[in-house]
Symmetry: C2
Subunit: 322 residues, 2 copies
């Protein structure tokens, strides 16, 4: 369970449906703020090492890549990757390149999603988006270069006989490709302003969020030479955390004020984006979020007490009020 400081920040007044899953927490003393601080620093140092410097020619592209990569992202995917490695008895050192690779993929997808041709967002995390600073052309190329960089970094990770580079690359390529991450963005674009079903919304969330979260924890496990049983548990965990996260995001968008969220509330509704509350109602959305959350925590039983970091991260992601 997160430390008291974190619990205070992320306790959800009025959203007690989460409370019943609290007892599943195996590690009552896990220091998540410390875990996040140390791992974020390690990931930032590694990313800084992997990426060409801002002065490397052509300077513009490296400035643009670094601008978005170091724009204050919470490094949730890398943290999940490292936590999964720990749960399987692995080391941060072996998982770090893969953690950096998934962060490059995540950042590339944000840069491209923000483009005028897609979601047309001017701000992200309170800063002007990549194309607002560098122009649309460079933003497209910065995304391209980060996507490519992810594979270059993955190729430099340590492989195992059970998980050779071939498998690590396939893992990232499949999670990011036309059947997953890209598919999610396509379906999202095509669904805008249309009435879509709960099944279609789930299809989008599975691809836009679950695919890369799943990939992050699976790669963490693979870096630790995990057993096939552990890999299945991680898959199950990542999938449900991703879906639950999105449903909760949809709920918060309609229940919280902009001030509480620290970003524009009701944005999805305004942009005519389909959300769970809009399709199935608020109460049913909360029930679904609760079920998905329960499934995510249940998957962690396979790690017999070693999944403290994963559990704390899931609580951080799923028991939040913004």
């Amino acid at each position: 369970m997160p430390s008291s400081r974190l619990r205070k920040t992320h306790r959800l007044p009025g959203r007690f449906f989460f409370l019943k899953y609290r007892h599943m927490s195996a590690t009552t003393q896990f220091d998540l703020p410390d875990f996040l601080a140390t791992r974020t620093e390690a990931v930032n140092r590694a990313l800084n090492r992997f990426l060409p410097s801002e002065k490397t020619r052509p300077a513009t592209i490296h400035k643009a890549m670094r601008y978005s990569l170091f724009a204050g992202g919470k490094r949730m995917r890398p943290a999940l990757c490292l936590a999964a490695a720990e749960a399987c008895g692995g080391s941060d050192a072996a998982a770090l390149p893969l953690a950096c690779a998934v962060e490059c993929i995540h950042t590339y997808s944000l840069i491209h999603d923000d483009l005028p041709a897609m979601d047309n967002d001017d701000f992200r995390r309170g800063k002007p988006t990549n194309h607002k600073v560098f122009g649309d052309g460079i933003a497209v190329l910065a995304g391209d270069a980060l996507l490519t960089q992810a594979f270059e970094i993955t190729a430099q990770a340590k492989g195992w006989p059970r998980y050779p580079h071939r498998d690590l690359i396939l893992e990232i390529a499949k999670a990011s490709g036309s059947l997953q991450l890209v598919a999610g963005q396509v379906a999202d674009l095509e669904g805008e302003g249309k009435k879509i079903s709960a099944g279609e919304l789930r299809y989008i969330h599975e691809r836009k969020t679950s695919a890369l979260l799943c990939c992050s924890v699976r790669l963490g496990g693979m870096s630790a030479n995990c057993t096939p049983t552990q890999l299945r548990a991680l898959t199950d965990f990542g999938y449900h955390v991703g879906l639950a996260f999105q449903v909760i995001d949809d709920i918060l968008d309609v229940t919280q004020t902009s001030e509480q969220l620290g970003k524009t509330a009701g944005k999805d509704t305004k942009a005519q984006k389909a959300t769970y509350p809009a399709i199935v109602g608020l109460e049913k959305s909360r029930k679904i979020a609760g079920q998905l959350t329960a499934k995510a925590f249940a998957a962690l039983k396979a790690f017999k007490g070693r999944a403290g970091a994963l559990e704390a991260l899931a609580e951080f992601l799923l028991k939040r009020d913004k």
Copy 2:
């Protein structure tokens, strides 16, 4: 040397500086049209197998990916990859996945280069560009998905102890990343309308063209478990063919009519793009093209008569009038 039919089509009236390299051709009877026809068909079949069908959900993205991938490209990079494999005693079967991967990279780069945010081209190979048919958002995503697909396909190629998947992936990632292919496009964008030096123009051509040509032949060699000496020769060959190709392209843009080229002549000049003739003059450009061509052919000596296909392809690319 190409067959008489091909020689006739590609003989260059008035551009006799090439003739002195003719004697280097080791294979006087190489049937290039047959080689290109059979290999193009094999590559198309393989690409069709590797890519999700047009009906696979979301259909839009797979239609968009296939639209550009099967838009009548000459498959020069795949052909070079297969020819390099043959020169090193390898098989088409082992080289085919890598040949398909480089074609996916090439196609992705064209889709993104054509975007309004970059070169803003409405037509390519006489057909509307990807974004004109599918919209800018889907075109960005189709490029992203093809780039990702290239790595997925590479991971499925056969590796060798000397050239494991790790190396194959690094080969493609480095050739396509922020220091090569993307760097070339960035420098090209930034150089538009500016007076640039011959050195800067060479920097662009090396990255926009040579990097992926080099990668194509190197991957072909690697698929054949080539010797380090052969790999060096292929690198040398790919690099010089790429550069020579670009210089010749620049020359043809100013010396040939639109009718002769089958595309708009003088386009580079009009777009205020730097060209060799504009920077160093037509005569010096021809001299440079001749020198680069000579170096490309010289690199093939390492293959002692087995480089018939590579030699014929180089002649096809460098001794052309359009």
